[in-house]
Symmetry: C2
Subunit: 111 residues, 2 copies
DNA sequence: AAATAGTGTTGCTTTTAGGTTACACAGATG
DNA sequence: CATCTGTGTAACCTAAAAGCAACACTATTT
């Protein structure tokens, strides 16, 4: 079983779905779900991955990454985006370093 | 002709390649290149797109986006990622606000 | 115990991505 | 003029993705 199959099966069982239930939600055949989980597909189409991602309510990018179609979005990249830090696009390297220092300072001040 | 086909053909002609030359560089059949350019493929595989991107020396992500497989990387999202701000994933809202204030302060100090 | 519904699994069929070959038309070269 | 070489295009074939139908097994229900 490959990475994609492992990922999908884990998510599916986590949700308590049967193969058929997931297939129904994703509007694809249940045999296809099984074959993907078993790693019997060399090139599962992005279209199908998108359907499964929607059905599992998990990020499409994760499935694409598990399938080897894109690089894993780095944790740091996502984290900073989620964090809501604004207007950091045109900072110089010195300024970035200062911001990172400041973040470290803030964390050290936590009680 | 769809977006992907238009993009690839434009890049190909820009490089002065014939259909056959591009196919040779990408190590796929020239008929497949033509069909993709003509938009006769519903689901061109990411594998093939990767080969074409390499042959054309253009970003794979652009082809994936043109095919509708991924979203165009948003400028803002990339900007914060590129900025290199670290360990901001677990900041509280107050801390984020302070960081944003600090960034504004740094910018105001520029001469 | 028999019927029913749910589960995973497997063979068969259809559809389509991709390759191989061949065609028609140009321009260059003998 | 005839032959090669490169261009795009189209017909045919193969392999793989995806769907359909049926199987075996379990658990529940009548």
């Amino acid at each position: 079983m490959n990475e994609l199959g492992t990922y999908i099966q884990a998510k599916r069982k986590e949700k308590g779905y049967s193969i058929r239930k997931l297939a129904e939600l994703a509007e694809i055949s249940h045999t296809e779900v099984k074959r993907i989980e078993d790693g019997m597909r060399k090139q599962t189409s992005p279209q199908v991955l998108r359907s499964i991602a929607t059905a599992l309510n998990c990020p499409y990018e994760d499935l694409m990454a598990a399938a080897g179609y894109i690089d894993e979005p780095t944790v740091d990249a996502d984290a900073t985006a989620v964090a809501g830090i604004q207007n950091a696009d045109d900072l110089s390297q010195e300024e970035i370093d200062k911001v990172n220092e400041y973040i470290a300072f803030l964390k050290s001040q936590r009680k």
